[in-house]
């Protein structure tokens, strides 16, 4: 295939289609995506060893997050495969609830994850070049980025640059009364990169996140603790993984006690989050243990999951007691919990404050509005979590490659994917606390499921050339099998009386029902259908499961389509002709909404509706002006011609 990239024939090391700065989860996925669509891509990171580091908890996926991983995988991204290669405990969360709200999650072995990332990016991704070095500045010409400058003075040119530099902006670590500057600001020349961004007019916000102390597993009394086993067999993330071959390990559960809470209460005056030492906004959904005790004082204990960091690693991550209390208090907290009475702390917990760039300064392609050809992904946009970072990386890497190749931006819709929800939320709403994905962020939860990510996205990804041949072949096979199974289910039918003869209770209304319709009844399962129609036994288990899930939600999804159509009509009320400042001409908008509109510049009335604080009156105003403007433009077009 011939592509229209600028530098495709250029083999010199200082010219690329796309440069990705940073080798974390956003950077890795961005580089892989850009390379997959055929862009000559450079991934610049401090050290090869940084690739695939799980810097916080050793787990991938969860509710919402697991959906993102499946979507990344459906687009042939790397995260799902890395998690499958390194996962040591797989669990589908919400298994006792419906398929629409289940989320796959895995504990990962840190070392194995890093190894897998190295192999994937360095060996299995053609067109990707790794450069070790520190980016100190952007090369800019005519309001557009043309490349980067490294600390050693090298200049590398590119058609587009993706920045995935995490929390490098004014990072400040807090541990009790101590604090120190993290990241490189103030000590190293990358300060210039930060200054460059600030000078471009990006708005800054400040956030906080925290981590718990790490424990020495050899000093934990495991037999005193409740065990949580993973699923058997483990369910992989990637549709390319057939079986999980890594050995599996359990997690253990302990609890904070009234002694823990008393100790924390007695030391609240030493907690940076309460003394005013920390100003950044932390995540409400992932509070530190001192926050939990302070806010939910009536509870006598909180669950703490003891997660292994690796198969041959003694370190244990106690999920649930993130804290920045002083070292002596942290030791006291750990020792107050059952099984941890004598446990040694390998590394103390801490909180980190950092600046992020207001993502409302981004287009849905994740290209910045301030500087052309510059894309931002990951924590720098105010998100938290590996999966959120990776999803943005994929969007930014894809669009950077397209930008470099002169192709139009790809827009992920919130009706199609959680990736779309994530991007739309970021660029429309901005963030006030570290942004994490939840299934409740989607209006279309029944349609956007972890089980159908490939059905929603793989064909789309294939059209974008994001999806490789192997995945596409497998997908074609699965899609065909599913289509046949559904056709068969819809061709078989019976009356309530016939059903009764097979021991299936139905309303005796004389109405024939197809096998597909029967599957939507809560009390009817695949096994019942096979009793009635033995031919169905030939359908493979995974295909049958998928068909059953679709049957369960079919009626609702049909109705939902009408709603989606209504929403899309507002999508057609185009606001893209409005530039920043256009909203100043609309009398009657509140200052707050006017500021937001000028900043976000929504592309449609549908997007404007999502803006926080939007009122029906303001939305109507915007619509009236959009229509007026549209009419004027049409008249102008007619008079011109």
């Amino acid at each position: 295939m011939v592509r229209a990239f600028h530098y495709t024939r250029d083999d010199r090391l200082n010219r690329f289609d796309v440069i990705v700065v940073g080798g974390g989860h956003a950077g890795g996925e961005a580089a892989a995506a850009a390379a997959r669509v055929g862009a000559r891509t450079a991934l610049i990171t401090f050290s090869k060893a940084n690739l695939g580091v799980l810097s916080c908890n050793p787990a991938i996926g969860g509710l919402g997050k697991g959906h993102l991983v499946r979507e990344i995988d459906a687009l042939d991204g790397i995260m799902g495969r890395l998690a499958d290669a390194s996962g040591i405990q797989f669990r589908v969360l919400n298994r006792r609830k419906g398929p629409a709200v289940r989320g796959p999650r895995a504990q990962a072995d840190r070392k194995l994850y890093r190894q897998a990332a190295g192999i994937e990016l360095l060996e299995k991704t053609p067109g990707l070049t790794l450069i070790e070095g520190e980016v100190t500045d952007l090369l800019v010409a005519d309001q557009a980025v043309t490349g980067v400058e490294l600390a050693d003075g090298r200049e590398i040119q590119a058609g587009a640059v993706v920045l995935t530099t995490g929390t490098f902006l004014r990072g400040l670590v807090h541990l009790g009364e101590e604090r120190w500057s993290a990241g490189r600001i103030g000590e190293q020349p990358s300060h210039r990169l930060a200054e460059r961004l600030l000078a471009c007019g990006f708005a800054l916000g400040r956030l906080k996140t925290g981590t718990p102390p790490r424990l020495n597993g050899r000093t934990i009394q495991w037999d005193a603790l409740a065990v949580q086993e993973g699923d058997d067999p483990p369910e992989p993330f990637s549709s390319l993984t057939t079986t999980i071959t890594t050995a599996q390990a359990p997690c253990h559960i302990t609890r904070t006690t009234s002694a823990t809470h008393a100790l924390i209460r007695a030391n609240l005056d030493r907690a940076p989050v309460f003394t005013g030492q920390i100003g950044g906004q932390g995540p409400r959904y992932c509070p530190s243990i001192e926050d939990k005790v302070n806010r939910f004082g009536d509870r006598d204990g909180h669950q703490v999951f003891l997660e292994p960091e690796g198969l041959d690693d003694d370190a244990v991550y106690p999920n649930g007691i993130s804290t920045s209390l002083p070292r002596d208090v942290q030791a006291g907290i750990v020792h107050s919990m059952p099984g941890l009475e004598k446990t040694e702390i390998l590394q103390y917990g801490y909180a980190i404050e950092y600046d992020f760039l207001d993502p409302r300064g981004l287009f849905p392609s994740l290209e910045t509005k301030h500087l052309n050809r510059l894309f931002l992904a990951g924590q720098i946009n105010g998100t938290t979590g590996y999966e959120e970072a990776a999803a943005q990386g994929l969007v930014a890497g894809l669009n950077a490659a397209r930008r470099a190749g002169g192709q139009s931006a790809v827009h992920f819709s919130r009706m199609q994917s959680y990736i779309g929800v994530l991007v739309d939320d970021l660029v429309t709403q901005g963030v006030t606390e570290p942004y994490r994905m939840f299934t409740s962020r989607s209006e279309f939860r029944l349609a956007l499921r972890a089980d159908n990510a490939d059905l929603r996205l793989t064909r789309f990804g294939s059209e974008l050339k994001l999806v490789g041949a192997e995945r596409l072949a497998r997908f074609d096979t699965k899609e065909a099998a599913l289509g046949q199974a559904k056709a068969l289910l819809q061709s078989l039918s019976l009356t309530p009386r016939e059903a009764e003869r097979h021991g299936v209770a139905l309303n005796q209304d004389g109405v024939r029902r197809t096998a597909f319709e029967l599957l939507s009844y809560p009390h009817i399962e695949w096994g019942h259908l096979i009793r009635v129609w033995p031919a169905l036994a030939a359908i493979p288990g995974l295909v049958a499961d998928q068909a059953a899930i679709e049957a369960k939600y079919a009626v609702y999804l049909g109705r939902q389509e009408a709603d989606i159509a209504r929403l899309q009509r507002d999508e057609q009320l185009d606001l893209s002709v409005f530039d920043s400042g256009s909203y100043d001409g609309i009398a009657g908008l509140s200052n707050e909404i006017r500021l937001k509109l000028n900043l976000i510049r929504p592309r449609s009335v549908a997007q404007a509706r999502q803006i926080e604080g939007m009122t029906p009156a303001a939305l109507t105003l915007i619509a009236v002006h959009a229509k007026k403007r549209g009419e004027r433009d049409r008249i102008a077009a007619v008079t011109d011609s």
Partner: protein
């Protein structure tokens, strides 16, 4: 740039006073051109209007000038209260057309300006259209309550209940495996949904009343041929009640007359006589009579004591049996106890008590607060929201994702009611109702 537009804002035809409104940046300039000076803001001032650039006097008029921030449209506004003859109005409008930069307003343009300048919201626009269309006192009161934004306030309350329910569901789905919320679960969501359901149902119950007040209380006159239906209609229309308007019904077989009875708009429909017939045209007329009866708020069943009176059992609306032609000798008994009213359209006997019975039926349906839901668009939205809330209650047992699905649909429906979703359609529907000058 907003244009300056003008038009006659009061009704057409002869009247004591006619009001011409000018709205836009050039309103003051226009006034200067006609009156030679500007009056103090918001003070009615008697001024002489002349044709611009001449001494030709058009009229002596009461003139009002409003500044941009204190006017209905959010633009500078001038109002000319001129003498109401068509010739005067025509000449003043003609003079305004000569002022450079001014043009006649298109339908709904003043309201569009007001909306565009954020002076009113969409619900208020709809209510304003009602206020302008209001022909009776009760219609006016209903429209005023809409202008005050009562519907918007109610939707806000409903949506905050929904938000609470959605938060519970979100916690149950997204945090159930994190150990800290699982035990709280969905406790309390049932009562939340019940409150929501009864709120929505209450609003829908008043919807019929709102429709009745705005469109008129529908009274269908049904009966065998020659039972005196048309005579009764004419008699009612000619008496102490005024004919508001008269127009042919949707078919030539149903004649409708709009009356004002004690402040209520009443639509009286005269229908084809009911009988067994093989004539296809007549059958069609009878079919329409039945349709008219099924849409009516009240049915008058006429019985002249000669032919078989119609059957009330198949009717959904309340009915009153009326014995007609009591001035004439008839085959049947004169005082039939199954008839509540006995009247003679010719002598006028019994007409007052019939009017009273109609009024009683109207008042029966018009108790309590003004209705929140006046328009079909609003009613349908609330109906969809109610169906979704009931779906949530019904299917919660199937799984939390079904509960969530219905709550989301309910919220979308309410967003449509207040115009957060479907903005384009709402705008179209609303402005299609405006006529020029409002």
């Amino acid at each position: 740039m907003t244009e300056t537009v003008f038009s006659l804002s009061s009704g057409k035809g002869k009247a004591g006073i006619a009001v011409i409104r000018i709205s836009g940046p050039l309103a003051g300039t226009a006034l200067l051109a006609l009156a030679g000076a500007l009056p103090p803001l918001r003070q009615a001032t008697l001024m002489t209007l002349r044709r611009p650039g001449s001494d030709v006097i058009l009229d002596r008029a009461l003139v009002l000038l409003f500044a941009r921030d204190r006017s209905f449209t959010g633009e500078p506004v001038a109002e000319l209260h001129v003498h109401g003859g068509p010739a005067v109005v025509r000449s003043v409008l003609g003079a305004l057309a000569e002022v450079p930069g001014l043009r006649m307003a298109v339908p709904g343009e003043f309201t569009r300006q007001a909306l565009g300048n954020g002076r009113i919201d969409l619900g208020q626009v709809e209510a304003l259209a009602d206020l302008i269309d209001a022909e009776t006192e009760r219609q006016r009161m209903q429209a005023l309550s809409g202008l005050a934004g009562m519907l918007g306030a109610a939707v806000r309350d409903w949506r905050s209940l929904l938000l609470e329910a959605k938060a519970m569901v979100a916690a149950d789905i997204d945090f159930s495996d994190e150990g800290d919320v699982a035990d709280q679960g969905l406790r309390g969501i049932d009562s939340l949904l019940q409150r929501l359901e009864s709120g929505l149902e209450g609003a829908l119950r008043t919807a019929d009343r709102g429709r009745m007040l705005v469109d008129g209380f529908r009274v269908a006159i049904i009966g065998p041929p020659n039972a005196g239906k048309s005579t009764l209609l004419n008699a009612l229309a000619r008496r102490d009640v005024a004919i508001v308007s008269e127009h042919a019904g949707t078919t030539r077989d149903v004649l409708e007359v709009k009356l004002d009875i004690d402040g209520y708009a009443v639509i009286l429909a005269d229908t084809a006589g009911l009988r067994e017939t093989s004539d296809p045209v007549e059958r069609m007329g009878i079919e329409r009579a039945r349709t008219s009866a099924s849409k009516a708020d009240l049915v008058l069943l006429l019985d002249d004591g000669e032919s078989e009176p119609p059957d009330a059992d198949s009717l959904t609306a309340p009915s009153i049996r009326v014995r007609t032609k009591i001035d004439r000798k008839a085959a049947g008994p004169l005082h039939d106890i199954s008839c509540r009213i006995h009247l003679s359209a010719h002598t006028g006997e019994g007409l007052d008590s019939l009017t009273e019975q109609i009024l009683l039926a109207i008042r029966e349906g018009d108790r309590g607060e003004p209705s929140l839901l006046v328009h079909e668009r609003q009613r349908q939205g609330v109906e969809r929201a109610l169906a979704a809330v009931q779906g949530a209650q019904r299917e919660a047992v199937r799984g939390v994702e079904f509960l969530d699905h219905h709550l989301q649909r309910a919220d979308d429906a309410l967003k449509e009611v207040i115009g957060l979703i479907g903005v384009e359609e709402v705008l179209g529907a609303v402005f299609s109702r405006f006529c020029i000058g409002k």
